[in-house]
Symmetry: C2
Subunit: 449 residues, 2 copies
C-alpha cells in the first residue's frame, strides 16, 4: 500500500483551516445578505461547449475535461487518428470560473429570477495551472453580482461592501482602486491608437510589476507609435489629489466622448461614496485594467498592506449574457480572493483569538458510573446551545486533558465519585487556570451568559 | 446560439432552493457543533487509484474520470489498441462518496488530527448513475463521523444527534432503526450458514420492498439451505415490544458468541438512550443491513412518515482506514440525505413560513434627490444588521413593488419629496398591509427589535 496522496494543486482542509475559511465566508455572507444578495449554486460540471472559447486558448487548455464513458469512449477510441483532440474524448468539463456559468445560469433560469438580480456564489473552480505558492488547481471563488441594471448605485454599494467586509475582517490598510474602461478607451482614442486599446491597457496594467520602460517596450512591440507613447506618459503618471487627477483627466480627454463619459461615471461614484463616508479607502488608478476585456464601465481592484497583488477585483460588464443569446443585460460584480485573504489573516495573526471553533465545555470521563451521571447534564448544556464533549472512555487523565487542549476547550469539568456525593462539580477555566467547586445549576447560569 | 443547458443529472440552485438547502445544512451544523464535531473538506478530485476498487465494479464504472491532458493524452492516443481502457486516459476522478476520501484524509493527515477525531463534511459527490426523480449525478452528502474509539457512547450520541436535527427540522414521525452487524453474523451462524452471511443479509434487507417469499427465493438461489430458511423465519418476523424482541434474540442466538455480543451492544445502546430520553423514536430492526459490508457493529437507518426509503443511515466500521494502511482504527458515522430531507420539508410545507431569506426593508426609489436622502438611512439600518435594499433606479412604482414582493420584503419604506419635508417616512408592513408615517428614529427602534 503506497502512501495516500491527493492530486497536485488540490488541498485537504483540516478543522483549523476550515474554521478560518468559514470565518471569512461567514463574514462576507452576512454583509452580502444585508445588501439583499441571495446565494445560488451551479453544478461543478458544465457542458464542454458552454465553456469552450470563453477563456481564450489558454483557458481551453487548462480546463479539466471529463472522460467520455462507455459507448462514447469506445467510439472515440475507434475513431482515433493522428488528429484526435482532447475534445473528441470529452463532452463535459469542470467549471473554470463562476462568471461564465453565472451568465449561463441567468439566461437559462431567467423566468424564475427577479431582476435586477443580486446574487452571491461561493464555490470551487478548477484550472490545470502549474501549481505554485498560493495558486491551486482547485480553489474557491466568492463572487457577488447585480445583473439587469446599469445604475451606478450598484458600484457605490460594492464600495460599501468592500469596506464593510474588509473592515470586519480587520484587513490592514486596504485600498480600493477604481478605474473605468471608458477612460481607457478615451485615452487610446486621444493618443490616436483607438484600435490598440487592448494592447495599451494590457501593457499599462503591468506598470506596478515591470515599470514604465518595460511597459513602453511592450507597447512598441505591439505597434503602438512612439508619438502615442509620449502622449500617454502624463496620464500614466497621473498623481496627486483626486480632484487634481480628475481635472487632468478632463483636460486630457476633452476631445473623447467616451473618455468624458468615463470620467463622469467615475466622479459620480466618488461623490456618492464620499457622501456615504466610504471614500477614504478609495483611489483613482488609471493604469488599472485587470486584463479583462469584458469590462465596459467601472473596474475595481483591492490591495492591502503587506501583500503583493490584489485581494479583490471586479467591474461592470454589458455583454456577459450575450454569450448565451440574451442581449441588453448590464451587470456589475466583484470577487473576493478567499485564499489570499486567508493568507493575509494568517500572516497578520488576525483570526479571532480564542480559537475559531473552540469547544465550550469538556467533561473528563472517570468511568461508567460517572459518565452515566454526567450525560444528562451534558444534554442540559447542549439545550442551551453550549458545545460540549465527554471523552468517550475513561482514558488516562493526561490523554483526556491533551484532547481538551487540542479542542480549545474553555472549561473542563471534573465529576468523580466525590463530586457526585457532594453535589458540587469541579470546573476548571482553561484560560485563567482557576478551579472552583460549584453546583451544576450555577455552572449552567454561567454558561447561559 | 443554442439554448444554454447543463449536463443531465446536475442542477442549478436558484435563491429559493439554495435558502432551503442552507436551512437544512445550518440546522444540522449547529447540532454537530454542539456535540464537538468540526468541519473538514477534501478535494473534489482524487487520484483515480485512491478510489478504484473501493466501490465494486459498478462504482468503478459510474465514476467520473478526468481526461489526461497534453502529453499524457497524446501518449494514451499513441498507445491505443482494442484493449484500451478508460483508465488509460485518466489518472484523476471526481469523488464518488465522502467515506473513502475521509479514510484517505484520516491516514494522510493523522499527525495533525486529534483522536478520537470527530468531523462533519458537507460536499458534493458525483456518480454517473442513470438520472431519475430524486437521483442526481451531482449531489451533496452530509456525513458525521467519529474515528479512533470503539466506545458505544458514540452510537448513543448519534441517536441524540438524529433526534435533535430531525426534531429541529420538524420531520414528521421519524423512526430511528437500529441493528447490529454482529447479530446478523450470529443469525447466519445459528442457522448453519455462517459463510453466507452476506447473501443472507442482502436478501433480508429487502424484506420491506419485496416481501418474505421473494426474500426466501433469493436466498435459495444463492444456495442457502431450506433448513436454514426455516430456522430464519422467526427471527425475520420478530415483532412486539423491545424487551420481547431482545429476549427472543437472546434465546435464538445463545450458541453464538458474536451474536450474543451484538445483542449486548444493542441493549447497552437502547438502555443508555432510554436514560437520556431519546429512545422514543428508536426501534430494533433485525432485517436492517443497508447492504454495506464494511459495517462491523451498530447499523442505523432513519425513515419518516410519508416518505418511501430512508432519510439517514450509518453504522460502525472497524476497517475503513485499513484501505490506506492504517489498522486498528474503529469508527462510527452517519449520513443525512440532504436531497431527501429537502423533499420531505417541501412536501410537508415545513420550510420556515416567513420566507427563508426575506428582505427586512425595501426602499422605493423616487429619483436621484430622494435616493441620496435615503442612502445614509439605509447605511444606518445595515449597521444594525438589518437587510435593506433600495431599488437602483426610479422605475415605475408597480415594478418596484413587484420586486419588493419577489424579495419577500417585510417592510417597504416610501420617502418622497413630501416625506423629506415633513421629516416622517412612510412605512408599509407587507404582512398586515398597515401603513404609518413615523420618524426614521422610531423605525430604527422597531427594526432593532
Amino acid at each position: 500500500m503506497s502512501k495516500p496522496s491527493i492530486p497536485k494543486g488540490t488541498r485537504d482542509f483540516i478543522p483549523k483551516e476550515m474554521a478560518g475559511r468559514n470565518f471569512i465566508f461567514n463574514t462576507a455572507k452576512s454583509v452580502f445578505k444585508k445588501f439583499g444578495f441571495q446565494q445560488i449554486e451551479t453544478p461543478a460540471i458544465e457542458n464542454l461547449k458552454t465553456l469552450t472559447g470563453k477563456y481564450g486558448d489558454e483557458g481551453d487548455q487548462l480546463m479539466f475535461k471529463l472522460l467520455n464513458r462507455g459507448d462514447k469512449f469506445k467510439k472515440a477510441v475507434n475513431g482515433i487518428s493522428e488528429h484526435s483532440k482532447e475534445s473528441d474524448f470529452a463532452e463535459l468539463a469542470l467549471k473554470y470560473d463562476l462568471t461564465v456559468p453565472f451568465a449561463r445560469f441567468v439566461v437559462q433560469n431567467r423566468n424564475e429570477l427577479t431582476f435586477p438580480f443580486k446574487r452571491y456564489q461561493i464555490q470551487p473552480v478548477w484550472r490545470a495551472d502549474r501549481p505554485q505558492k498560493g495558486r491551486y488547481r482547485e480553489f474557491y471563488q466568492c463572487d457577488v453580482d447585480v445583473v439587469g441594471t446599469d445604475s451606478l448605485l450598484c458600484e457605490v454599494e460594492f464600495i460599501q461592501i468592500f469596506n464593510e467586509v474588509l473592515t470586519a475582517l480587520k484587513i490592514p490598510g486596504f485600498s480600493i482602486k477604481l478605474n473605468n474602461r471608458k477612460i481607457l478607451a478615451g485615452i487610446a482614442e486621444v493618443v490616436g491608437e483607438a484600435d490598440k486599446i487592448i494592447d495599451i491597457t494590457v501593457a499599462i496594467d503591468k506598470l506596478d510589476k515591470i515599470g514604465l520602460d518595460k511597459v513602453n517596450e511592450e507597447m512598441i512591440a505591439k505597434g503602438v507609435s512612439q508619438d502615442a507613447i509620449n502622449k500617454l506618459r502624463p496620464v500614466i503618471k497621473l498623481s496627486g489629489s483626486l480632484d487634481g487627477k480628475i481635472a487632468s483627466l478632463k483636460s486630457f480627454l476633452k476631445e473623447s466622448q467616451i473618455g468624458m463619459k468615463g470620467v463622469e461615471e467615475l466622479e459620480f461614484i466618488f461623490n456618492y461614496a464620499s457622501n456615504l463616508n466610504v471614500a477614504h479607502s478609495l483611489e483613482l488608478d488609471v493604469t488599472l485594467a485587470r486584463g479583462l476585456n469584458y469590462y465596459t464601465g467601472a473596474i475595481f481592484e483591492v490591495t492591502c498592506e503587506g501583500f503583493k497583488g490584489s485581494i479583490c477585483g471586479g467591474g461592470r460588464y454589458d455583454g456577459l449574457t450575450d454569450l448565451f443569446g440574451l442581449k441588453g443585460v448590464s451587470g456589475v460584480g466583484v470577487s473576493f480572493g478567499a485564499d489570499r485573504i486567508y493568507d493575509v489573516l494568517l500572516d497578520n495573526n488576525l483570526f479571532p483569538e480564542n480559537g475559531l471553533e473552540a469547544l465550550d465545555v469538556f467533561f473528563v470521563n472517570f468511568g461508567e458510573k460517572e459518565e452515566r451521571f454526567v450525560m444528562p447534564l451534558v444534554s442540559e448544556l447542549r439545550k442551551e446551545n453550549v458545545s460540549v464533549e465527554v471523552y468517550p472512555s475513561a482514558a488516562k487523565m493526561k490523554k483526556q486533558m491533551s484532547y481538551a487542549n487540542a479542542k480549545d476547550a474553555r472549561f473542563v469539568v471534573l465529576v468523580g465519585e466525590s463530586e457526585i456525593e457532594s453535589g458540587l462539580i469541579r470546573v476548571k477555566n482553561m484560560e485563567s487556570g482557576d478551579q472552583t467547586d460549584i453546583t451544576f445549576d450555577v455552572f449552567m447560569d454561567i454558561m447561559k451568559k
